[in-house]
């Protein structure tokens, strides 16, 4: 990753995407990880919630 422009490390004449990983497969990788984080967070939340309810059946 790092600076996405191969221009000697300057902002001069930079135009277009400036985020880390621009133009590579990294945005997609981050997106997949982000989706997985959401799903895992819900799964953990559901497990904890179910455990609480189990004490109040």
């Amino acid at each position: 990753m790092g600076f996405p422009y191969d221009n000697g490390g300057t902002w001069t004449d930079v135009s277009g995407p400036i985020f880390m990983g621009a133009g590579t497969a990294m945005p997609g990788t981050f997106a997949v990880i982000g989706i997985v984080v959401c799903i895992v967070a819900l799964a953990i939340g559901q497990r904890a919630e179910a455990a609480k309810y189990a004490k109040h059946k």
Binding site: V14, S15, G16, P17, I18, F19, A22, A25, P27, G28, F30, A31, V32, G34, I35, C38, L42, G45, Q46, A48, E49, K52, Y53, K55, H56, K57
Partner: protein, 464 residues
Amino acid sequence: MEEQLAELAAKVAELEAAGGGAALTNTMFAEAYYYLTIPLMIIIHAGFLAYEMGASRAKNALSSGVKNILAFAFVIPAFYFFGWWVYWAFPTGFSLSEGPNGISGAAYAGSIALAWGESAAYMGPNTEDQIDGVFWGAFTLFAATTASIMSGAVIERIQTVGFVILAIILGGFSWTLAAAWGWHADGWLVTDWGVHDFGAAGLVHAVAAFFALGVLINLGPRIGKFNADGSANDLPGHNMPFTATGLMLIIVGFWGFLMARLVVGGEAWSWGGNYTTIYGTPTNLGALAFNILMSVAGGIIGAWVMTRDPFWMMSGALAGIISCASGLDIYYPALAFIIAFGAGIILKPAAGILEGMGIDDAVGAVTVHGTIGIYGMLLLGIFASGYPAALGEGVATVSFVGQLVGSVVFVAIGFITGYVASLILKIVGMLRVPEAAEIAGLDTVKVPAQAYPEGIAASAPASQ
């Protein structure tokens, strides 16, 4: 002569530079315009948070709040990962084909609204793109609002994660599909039926409300809401001032919500040089100022005449805006006032009818957003009949039949997706909390904090 030519060339260069500066200023204004709608719309969520915590009994106050906070948090990434794509992919229907304006369909959506591949360039910081981020932000807040509309109806007995899953489906797919069909310039409801729903009475409010109704049928009423003979009991929330203040905050936030429906002029993506609606038809902020204020007033007064109850008066304010939302761009303010007054009048009786059917909508969300949303959609079909629904020649015009078709479609999208999703959650045991937990109070069961650790004792006045 050469000197004069040089002077002329310098003058032309100066004018060109000034023109470029003006263009840049306009671009920055457009960007700032939509950016500022985002915090304004977050005020809606502050309002829903206060409103629903206040409308809950003290034993459930924090768990209701947790639900709101999580809906907000999960709808945002859901809209980033797939909701934005749905809006651009589906306008022409399930065929995912390109529409007449060439800004829809799977191929187009895949080129601008996915967080991976080439389109990732439009889904993150980009010096050449000053608009997609703020557009996405505004639409994300619309999505989060639909989840909050559903949220109030189901308080005090729904499971947290089950609710979050429903919020993701509603915010990421259901309302987005409705918006693609009834809001997008290529939307088939707009191009074929002349549907006009500028302020989203149908495609946000009714979709969310009927989604909630589908959920409520599977969820069932709170324990103690209905007696054996079917009569209903009042289960008052623990903090009416908090609820009324929350409703007022929602109304404040609605100024951002409605402001974001305008398309700023003068940009490559604009419909021309001035403000337009999302359909490309002419309007301006003045239209909103006139009609929002008059509809708020009409709704409050109508509800006051009917109920004298501050809860319904503030709900009447919201209902007033929703009743006129479809045509806030074209109503005459006095007509907006009358329509909103009518909404305030029918609000509580309509809620009573729903309650009489055994539906426990804890905050009247189905009535305020659903019944009134459809009321507004249909009235626009009467009063705005013949108005061109979009920009250009030979476009479909607004009609009662078109608004009726749009209403049926919005209700169906909301109800079917809400009913089916909640039925699945019910089958897998993720919809309703156990009876003992509901009786004990959800804060005690699952929230590691206390709403009122010192109770809510009234303090004595200081001595003189």
